[in-house]
Symmetry: C2
Subunit: 225 residues, 2 copies
DNA sequence: GTCTGTGAAGGTATTCACAGCC
DNA sequence: GGCTGTGAATACCTTCACAGAC
């Protein structure tokens, strides 16, 4: 007897990174009243090739119909499941500066599978303030229950990031999204993802070099000889 | 006669994505008064393996000394050059909500190679406001000179993102950093990087599934039979 | 005929392990 | 002895191209 549908664990990393995009596009298509979508269309709207998209989706199982395409509702459900959004995740945002406030009021979350449960700041002048209808609390108020799944978001300056990470870990947070420009040192079982604008800008700067570099021309000629 | 140092263009993608982190760590080490650093130390502080780090750096050329390590100043200079930060890039941020404001006042930029030159919002009530000592202008004020290198940052709601991208492209912006949860359609020569919190949370949710899933246990047993 | 699912091929990235230089 | 630079081996990801289901 063979295994019916692929276990979550064997979905390739690269695929996992793209599933959220597909899910978002599927949601948009659904809200336009569509009920099925072809790999070609979904791929184009997601900015990937159709072959890649089909490979990605086939890692979850065979949920398409040949000659027709994918049923949007069914596919959304399976991607949601595969991503672990069947359960709700509680989210704690630390640092209620402009960035933390932006994240707290970002419509994109809360929508599905994420519950922004704690807005945290240690500044007594900020504690108690209302942001997006929710009041800011002190870090000590972060007491997740034993079986609660929590994602901690760090939106404080780089100098304080490690300290916040340590406190997260102490109360049992095992998934951290770090917006501070700092590399966090954490135990193996803790997952960290970092997002940093300076890094992104530098990567773009490199890619943007394609356009001619006037002062490099002489060297270029040499290479072409 | 062989080519002296590697041309920027043949640096692997994965390496480019990590160079900014190395650069940041080098800066921190330098400000602590260190002058050289070993691959082992730099790798640990950057969260990568030392073999990977050495491979990455060797793509830029041989700037290390065997038995000693890397000279921090020299290495920083070469990474900076390789990333195209020899020139300054002008940055335009569109959307002065909380996120745009956070980005505009983020210390990490402006520091090196990036000049936040335009803070843009089309809302007449926002135009003229001062943010981080700089006044907000209307999009029409974005008129980069012909040879100016510009990175455009989109910090508006998803519904307006494509429109902003189109306007960027019309005035000659070829590198875009998109914080809105939307896939942008752009010509081939335009580089786009997208950062979206919902996507990051979903990826973390998947990775965080490692911890036991009580309600999946029966299925697990079946698989092990 | 249309469109998915997937082996096979090709390309890219990571790890290993050690030669070479200080 | 210590540490870098790099071929060789491995693992991973993408693309191709077509068989198979509708």
């Amino acid at each position: 007897m063979s295994i019916e549908h692929a276990c979550r664990r064997d979905i390739p990393d690269a695929t996992v990174n793209r599933l959220p995009v597909y899910l978002r596009v599927l949601g948009e298509s659904a809200s336009k009243g569509q009920s099925t979508i072809s790999s070609e269309t979904l791929a184009a709207a997601s900015g990937v090739s159709s072959a890649k998209l089909r490979k990605d989706l086939s890692a979850l199982g065979s949920y398409g119909v040949r000659g027709v395409g994918y049923d949007i509702a069914t596919l959304s459900k399976h991607i949601t499941e595969a991503l672990g959004l069947g359960h709700t995740w509680s989210v704690a945002i630390v640092g209620m500066g402009n960035l933390g406030t932006a994240l707290a009021t970002y419509g994109g979350i809360g929508v599905k599978g994420f519950d922004i449960k704690w807005l945290i700041d240690d500044n007594p002048q900020v504690v108690g303030r209302l942001i997006g209808g929710q009041s800011v609390v002190h870090f000590d108020a972060l007491k997740p229950s034993k079986d609660e799944r929590v994602i901690g978001i760090i939106a404080v300056p780089a100098a304080a990031a490690q300290q916040v990470a340590d406190r997260f870990i102490k109360v049992g947070v095992r998934s951290i999204l770090n917006f501070a420009p700092a590399v966090l040192v954490v135990p193996d079982e803790v997952q960290v993802r970092g997002v940093d604008m300076a890094t992104e800008l530098q990567i773009l700067a490199f890619r943007g070099l394609g356009a001619r570099e006037p002062h490099e021309t002489s060297e270029m000629k040499e290479l072409m000889a």
